[in-house]
């Protein structure tokens, strides 16, 4: 490939990666809603039965961590796209 064509192809790939990383982080919406719901319910429970505060809090953290998983997958994809440049190798040097 000629040098200019290669440069413009690289620029396109990099732009696509940046946009893709941004789109991947839309996955953060779901865990945000889910964790907020879980914490709200835990606080309701503690308000109703203050004696089980410890159990409710630890269970809530586990639930939050599990709910977070999909968001973490999105973050992982975004990190891969931003710092590992997985698609540049398809251009062929």
């Amino acid at each position: 490939m000629e040098k200019e064509a290669l440069l413009s192809a690289q620029a396109t790939v990099l732009a696509g990666q940046a946009i893709g990383a941004g789109l991947a982080m839309i996955a953060g919406i779901g865990p945000g809603i889910g964790e907020g719901y879980a914490v709200g319910k835990a606080i309701e429970t503690i308000g109703r039965q203050p004696e089980i505060k410890g159990t409710a809090t630890s269970t809530m953290f586990i639930g939050c961590a599990v709910a977070e998983t999909t968001g973490i997958y999105g973050l992982f994809v975004a990190i891969m796209l931003l710092f590992a440049n997985p698609f540049l190798k398809f251009l062929g040097q």
Binding site: A65, T69, I72, F76
Partner: protein, 245 residues
């Protein structure tokens, strides 16, 4: 503004004749050795000359730790699994010290997917062992008649590894980006007052980098690291217990 996020460095390398690396040990492993030494030193210090009736604060702390872990195993896994208590406590100590070691300038070992993958693999082995031990190998193999079970079986260690790595590594990246942004902001401020840059570019001293990162570090290093190590061992216990049923 120059942002560089790097993986763990190669610390110890063995080179062949042409100068190519044939074998290398990464930074995470070397820091892991340090963590193991710290845990060992803590164990030796805390359990030095134990008495039947505790006299020193050290022994009280040691007894408190052991009691807490035993209680946790008993409430979460039941009395049958008490022999897992040392394993759980060891994994917890390794993860939490390895994560919080970033507070003193090392790279967190859990910000490396190889380390978290290895820890998740150990959990996976334990889950499979528990399943085979309590249900028999025939029933275990029979559960794979439904091929969807293979996916759920593999998803457990993958999600555990990615959860720990994503939280700690994401926090590390955010800290790096924050440092770069604060450096750029101080550069703009210096530009207003007409202070010249150094010959190599950048400034010797960035005023905004004092104090501000510490606030975020409390969340991303201290709180997130502690919570994620706790979550990791809680999920390990929950999955192992589920393997019995």
């Amino acid at each position: 503004m120059n942002i560089e996020v790097q993986g763990p460095k190669r610390m110890i390398c063995i080179l062949d004749g042409n100068g190519d690396v044939t074998f290398s040990i990464s930074e995470s492993v070397v820091t892991g050795w340090l963590v193991i030494l710290i845990v060992l030193a803590l164990c030796l210090i805390l359990t030095k000359d134990l008495k039947k009736i505790p006299e020193t604060k050290r022994q009280c702390a040691a007894e408190y730790i052991v009691k807490t872990v035993n209680n946790m195993i008993e409430t979460n896994m039941g009395i049958d699994f008490m022999r897992y208590a040392p394993y759980i406590a060891a994994v917890f100590a390794y993860i939490i010290i390895g994560t919080l070691i970033s507070m003193v300038g090392f790279r967190s070992i859990t910000a490396d997917i190889s380390v978290t993958g290895g820890l998740a693999l150990m959990t996976f082995v334990l889950i499979t062992y528990t399943k085979i031990r309590y249900n028999g190998i025939g029933k275990y193999l029979l559960s794979f008649v439904n091929p969807l079970n293979i996916i759920s079986e593999v998803a457990t260690p993958v999600s555990m590894a990615l959860r720990l790595f994503g939280n700690v590594g994401g926090g590390m990246i955010i800290t790096i980006i924050l440092y770069a942004a604060l450096g750029a902001a101080s550069g703009a401020l210096y530009g207003v007052f007409g202070i010249p840059e150094m010959a190599s570019g950048g400034y010797f001293f960035n005023i905004f980098q004092i104090g501000i990162p510490a606030v975020l570090s409390v969340y991303f290093d201290l709180f997130s690291g502690a919570i994620q190590s706790y979550v990791f061992i809680m999920l390990t216990m929950a999955y192992i217990k589920m393997g019995k049923e």
